[in-house]
């Protein structure tokens, strides 16, 4: 028993060291006052110089704003489509074409991004030709095409989250509402959506993160002038390590860590409230 505890501790210790040392070193060196990032300048460090540079960097700021807009739009679109797909797969029983739908929703989870990106771009090029031939209408690749591509690969994640949430409880509540005469659409909005709201929210956040983070698919489908944040970071990082990118990364780590901790606290509180209410209901 004792040896097992020791084994667990050392495995987890090493594993988490491996996961967190790179992130921590990135944060530490974002306060370093030296161009060559990895040499610690102990005279003038720590400094907030690079954070100042970051907020004066027009290119990064405008790319970040574009990424936020794209991510918010794609996450919202993905949540609508993904929830519908999850509902269909979890609740609608067997229908013709169900297997294909299941396949189409799980494939993007593992599909290499270059394939998704290339195929989306070729679709958009074909559509461009088609529109041009039939309507004489020229559309440019940009925010619109990036958003469509992001919706397509992020909705798969929402579908899986919603589907597994729906599978975790049976449909007796929905059944009861239908028996009491509620129309299916009403049942969906009054019963199903509140029940799966946590899944929908985490699906939205997941889709937002994936879209915000995506480089490869975006590189394929974006047009001239629409550079998202990962594209800007990638082009800078290819030229070498840049302290401004370190500062940006540290800010992102901070936001994510705060968000995760906050949501954990909120979820815990809600869980406790639910337990208390259950106990009170049982007692009364």
């Amino acid at each position: 028993m004792k040896t097992q505890g020791l084994f667990s501790k050392s495995v987890l210790g090493l594993g988490f060291l491996f996961l967190y040392v790179p992130i921590l070193s990135m944060v530490v060196y974002s306060f370093n006052d030296s161009r060559s990032v990895t040499v610690w300048n102990s005279v003038t460090s720590p400094t907030l110089k690079w954070y100042g540079r970051l907020f004066g960097d027009e290119q990064i700021l405008s790319a970040a704003w574009l990424s936020i807009r794209v991510a918010a739009m794609s996450a919202s679109g993905a949540v609508v489509l993904g929830t519908l797909a999850g509902l269909v797969l979890a609740r609608f029983g067997p229908f013709k074409g169900r297997a294909l739908l299941q396949g189409l929703t799980t494939a993007p989870l593992v599909m290499p991004e270059v394939i998704t990106g290339l195929s989306m771009l070729l679709l958009f090029v074909s559509l461009e030709q088609l529109f041009h031939a039939f309507f004489g209408w020229q559309f440019d690749r940009g925010v619109m095409t990036i958003t469509i591509a992001h919706i397509t690969f992020t909705m798969a994640y929402v579908t899986v989250v919603v589907q597994s949430r729906l599978a975790s409880f049976d449909d007796s509540l929905e059944e009861a509402a239908l028996d009491l005469g509620a129309r299916p659409a009403r049942v969906f909005f009054r019963i199903t959506v509140p029940l799966i709201l946590p899944a929908i929210l985490s699906g939205w956040l997941l889709a937002f993160t994936l879209s915000w983070d995506d480089l490869v698919v975006t590189q394929f489908v974006s047009g001239p002038g629409s550079n998202t944040l990962p594209m800007v970071i990638f082009s800078r990082v290819r030229l070498g390590v840049s302290p401004v990118v370190n500062a940006l990364a540290s800010l992102m780590v901070l936001v994510v860590a705060l968000g995760v901790i906050l949501s954990a606290v909120l979820m815990r509180r809600q869980e406790q409230r639910r337990k208390r209410e259950e106990q009170m209901a049982a007692a009364g």
């Binding site: 987890l12 040392v21 489509l81 519908l84 929703t105 290499p112 394939i115």
Partner: protein
């Protein structure tokens, strides 16, 4: 009456009005009427995500397939000759070239990068498993409070930018990077070890980025194990190692397979990690695809690479879907 029809459609869920039926039999002018008359709300609910995925996920692959057989014309816009062409006499000409595919099989550059990609993906999966299995096991054995904290710590890096986490390794692995500085200061090495732009760096990057994808399915499997089985094994005289080999390991195989597929499939097509950390003289296949497309503008060849990659990965992808579906079925009570 309304109630009855709602109940009926719940009990006998409508088929998705087969798309081709109404496209071909009912023709364009009447299809709206058909939809209004025959599609219950349920069918519409099915149709919306279905159509989206067909148009934006399935159709693109058919286009890639088509272009992979097209002829490359460097100066064209787009840079390939049409595959289908209406001739004057009212005939449809279909011109399929297999040149791009035979090129893939014969060009040494391509052959070696296929081999390299598969090798890297295979060993990265193995390393992820070797590191991830003990971690998932240890987490599943810890007390509930710690378990949640550990899980959160596993998931947390996943929420931060993938690109930036790969970038973080540049600072560690460089010749004047953190690792070399520490080793030099400790006197373990006399001169910096070259780690950047090597296969080692690619392995580190892939294992680092994909580790959560290995741990989470493994954990969700290991967590469900019944402890009484291990007790029974030890009552019957099995030592801890034997009990693990004969009970825990076989039971965790679905988790091992799911996690391995989740790492292996994207790793074969990994682009960012080898571009930032990897060798310049040995490209992975995704980089070749991207170079072929963006640098050479050879769309047919890039498409052929994509199709070949898809053919290679179709068995693992189907396997993954099989396990994913089984998992979802098992959640139903």
């Amino acid at each position: 009456m309304k109630l009855a029809s709602a109940r009926m459609s719940r009990e006998a869920p409508g088929r998705l009005g087969p798309l081709w039926t109404f496209l071909f039999r009912f023709g364009p002018p009447r299809w709206t009427e058909y939809v209004l008359r025959n599609w219950s709300g349920q069918r519409l609910v099915i149709a919306v995500p279905y159509l989206w995925l067909l148009v934006f996920f399935l159709v693109p692959f058919l286009i890639v397939l088509k272009i992979s057989f097209a002829e490359f014309s460097p100066l064209g816009r787009p840079p390939y000759e049409p595959v289908f062409r209406w001739l004057e006499e009212g005939a449809l000409q279909i011109k399929l070239l297999i040149g791009s595919y035979s090129y893939l099989l014969n060009e040494p550059l391509y052959v070696s990068s296929w081999m390299y990609s598969i090798k890297v993906a295979f060993f990265s999966t193995l390393f992820c498993l070797m590191l991830g299995y003990p971690m998932a096991y240890a987490i599943s054995r810890s007390t509930p409070t710690y378990r949640n904290v550990f899980l959160m710590l596993i998931i947390l890096p996943f929420w931060t930018s993938f690109l930036l986490r790969v970038y973080a390794w540049i600072g560690l692995l460089k010749n004047d990077g953190v690792i070399n500085n520490v080793l030099l200061a400790m006197g373990l090495i006399d001169e910096p070890v070259t780690m950047m732009n090597t296969s080692f760096a690619v392995y580190i990057g892939i294992v680092y980025s994909y580790l959560p994808f290995m741990i989470l399915p493994l954990y969700s499997n290991l967590e469900k194990h019944d402890n009484t089985l291990l007790e029974a094994a030890s009552d019957l005289g099995a030592g801890p190692i034997k009990a693990f080999m004969r009970v825990t390991l076989p039971l965790s195989m679905p988790g091992v397979i799911a996690g391995s597929l989740l790492v292996f499939i994207p790793a074969v097509g990994e682009y960012v990690i080898p571009s930032l950390l990897g060798r310049a003289d040995q490209l992975m296949i995704a980089r070749l695809l991207s170079d072929e497309f963006f640098l050479n503008r050879d769309w047919p060849k890039a498409s052929a690479v994509a199709i070949a990659m898809l053919l290679l990965l179709v068995v693992p992808i189907m396997l993954f879907q099989h396990f994913q579906n089984k998992e979802l079925e098992a959640q139903k009570r």
